[in-house]
Amino acid sequence: MLTGNSCAVSAARAVVALGNPDRADDGVALAVLQGLGFPKDVEVFTALKTGMNLALSLSRYEKVLIIDASPLLPVGEVAVFPVAELRDSENSGYIHGFDLFAAFSVLNGAGFPVPEVWVLLIGVPKDLPFRRGLSPEVAKALPKSQEVVREWLAS
């Protein structure tokens, strides 16, 4: 697992919703956030894609939950696991890339603090047209996904 360094991080947590709300089900992570309340020590980010900028922004947190769409999971299926398992899996289906793992590796290698990262994936169709709104199949996964977020927040 990508675990946090013990030094120089705050106790705060972050939740990151990845995806493009203009590309139909790709925006499912943002939909998961809607209707959820977050404690004061939790910051919420939205982003289209992972990468060094996001990693730098997250490096000050102790724990991070990334919510994302995955075209390789069955549509509407929900899965949650530490990001390291994603890395080890050949067909992880992590739609917005491994860059965040690599970016954290760079930060870690350069001596910067790195959070403990968990990933919540929601299965979406492979074809993601330019359109706003979720398909009914993906929308059905929202309650379960929100429950996962609540459990993570309570843990």
Binding site: N20, P21, D22, R23, D26, F45, T46, A47, L48, K49, G51, M52, N53, L54, L56, S57, Y94, I95, H96, G97, F98, D99, A102, S105, V106, L107, G109, A110, G111, F112, L128, P129, F130, R131
Partner: protein, 482 residues
């Protein structure tokens, strides 16, 4: 005919491939870069309020949202005939140079870095962590200074990830009185890192015979025309200016404002791909061939240096002169010179940030110009990878009627294909193994830093690549991968 597909798999924005077409004898017949098309995007935008476009278009691309955001805002400035007040213009330009610096730095050190810094490393070591192990101090400094540059994006753009601040005619709000202090510190650190990078380049990279051989190699020498934005002194300007095009032999073909320049570009279609291949109308489309008669041109760092007569800042100018001395002629046609050009531009961006950060008008409160009636507008900007056009037609009610974007990698698609072709041809003729073929093709591809999202910011040595060989009937005969 056989087809080899080098196919970076996964990722959201689409599916980029390099297709190598072999003839019956195994020789390379053609090479093509397929970039993901934005099918449905225009229809999606039609009927939306014009003011939404800077936010919608920045979500097209996870790699350079800053470029789309400002190109869109500039297109709307033009469509609404709005004058952008100086404080707003300074904010935009400062923000944009911080983005160029960050993007080039990331590419130089971490994305293209293994090609530059780890020539002699074993395959397992040719990656980001390999760079950090060999250059720990530099790696740490790069991360630190990049975080400072990101802070500038956050101060001006409101947030570091997908910042949104530009509006038609200006920006959302004035900067605080405290902002210049943080910006000045970041600018100073960026310039210092630029100096360090130049020193490292001249001490660790350029003296290597293998690198010089690659820079000067015939298979990486591609004589095309070039396009880029220049200021009134014909120095590169990333945010604004006129579009200048020079020929493969260095003569000016045109220098024009964005809307007129767009009229001098046409797009060629092929039946086997949705991708459009831009070319210069003045010369016409003559197929996938480089040279003085071809309409194919290139954009990006090397192109910008080729269309310019000088750099805009002193340290960048010094390095530009060393660059020209090395090659001994201009335009420089070496595909691998893109890396060096990127370094020079990174230094110009750092110096520009330092200069703009000290401008007393930066914190001025007049940040929004008056808007006229909605009409038609073209916005052009230099994205890190090259010239980016946004062209909108608005209805009298201010709704979007027509959208056309020409992105950097689309401009470069014919050139990348030609570079890959030359590189692959040389490797195939020598009968080198597939691993060498892959490495060389990837290097040629990576030099352009193409923005496919699925292929751009892959990590060297870690890019998921599948190579598929098809026979003349389209049957898969072998598959290679990492």
């Amino acid at each position: 005919m056989k087809k080899i597909a080098i196919d970076p798999i996964t990722r959201l924005e689409g599916h980029g491939k390099i297709l190598l077409y072999l003839d019956e004898t195994g020789k390379l017949r053609d090479a093509v870069l397929q970039v993901p098309e934005l099918r449905g995007f225009e229809a999606f935008c039609r009927g939306r309020r014009a003011e939404e476009m800077p936010q919608i278009t920045e979500r097209i691309c996870g790699v350079c949202p800053e470029a789309h955001h400002l190109a869109s805002a500039k297109a709307l400035d033009a469509a609404f005939q709005a004058e952008v007040p100086k404080p707003a213009r300074l904010q935009r330009e400062l923000f944009y140079n911080a983005y160029i610096f960050s993007d080039h730095l990331l590419h130089l050190v971490f994305l293209g870095g293994p090609d530059l810094f780890l020539w002699d490393a074993e395959k397992e070591e040719r990656n980001l962590l390999g760079i950090l192990r060999r250059f720990p101090e530099l790696g740490r400094k790069v991360v630190e200074v990049r975080a400072q540059a990101q802070k500038i994006l956050e101060i001006i753009g409101g947030k570091a990830i997908h910042p949104v601040f530009a509006l038609p005619g200006g920006v959302a709000k004035p900067l605080t009185e405290e902002a210049p202090e943080t910006i000045a510190a970041a600018g100073k650190a960026m310039v210092e890192l630029g100096k360090t990078m130049i020193r490292v380049f001249h001490e660790e990279i350029l003296p290597r015979p293998e690198f010089q051989a690659l820079l000067l190699s015939e298979e990486a020498w591609l004589p095309t025309h070039y396009m880029g934005l220049v200021d009134e002194n014909l120095a590169p300007n990333f945010y604004d200016g006129r579009v200048r095009v020079v020929s493969a032999s260095g003569e000016e073909i045109f220098v024009l404002p964005s809307a007129e320049a767009l009229q001098r570009i046409a797009e060629h279609w092929e039946p086997w791909t949705y991708v459009k291949f831009p070319y210069l109308v003045d010369l016409g489309w003559r197929g996938f061939e480089a040279g003085p008669d071809s309409g194919i041109y290139r954009v990006g760092p090397l192109a910008r240096l080729n269309v310019a007569e000088r750099m805009a800042t002193p340290l960048a100018q010094e390095e530009y002169e060393r660059f020209l001395d090395f090659f001994g002629e201009k335009p420089v046609h070496a595909a691998f010179a893109y890396h060096w050009a990127r370094l020079i531009e990174m230094v110009q961006a750092a110096e520009t940030v330092a200069a703009l950060g000290a401008d007393p008008e930066l914190t001025g409160i007049e940040v929004r110009g008056k808007l006229g009636k909605p009409g038609e507008g073209v916005g052009v900007i230099e994205a890190a990878r090259g010239t980016l056009f946004h062209h909108y037609v608005l209805s009298p009610e201010g709704l979007v009627e027509k959208v056309n974007l020409i992105v950097a990698t689309t401009h470069n698609a014919p050139g990348i294909g030609l570079s890959v072709k030359q590189m692959a041809k040389a490797v195939l003729e020598k009968g080198e193994p597939d691993e060498i073929l892959l490495n060389r093709v990837e290097m040629a591809f990576r030099a352009y830093d193409p923005c496919l999202a699925c292929a751009t910011h892959f990590l060297p040595g870690e890019m998921p690549v599948a190579v598929e060989v098809y026979d003349a009937h389209g049957k898969l005969v072998r598959r290679l991968g990492r």
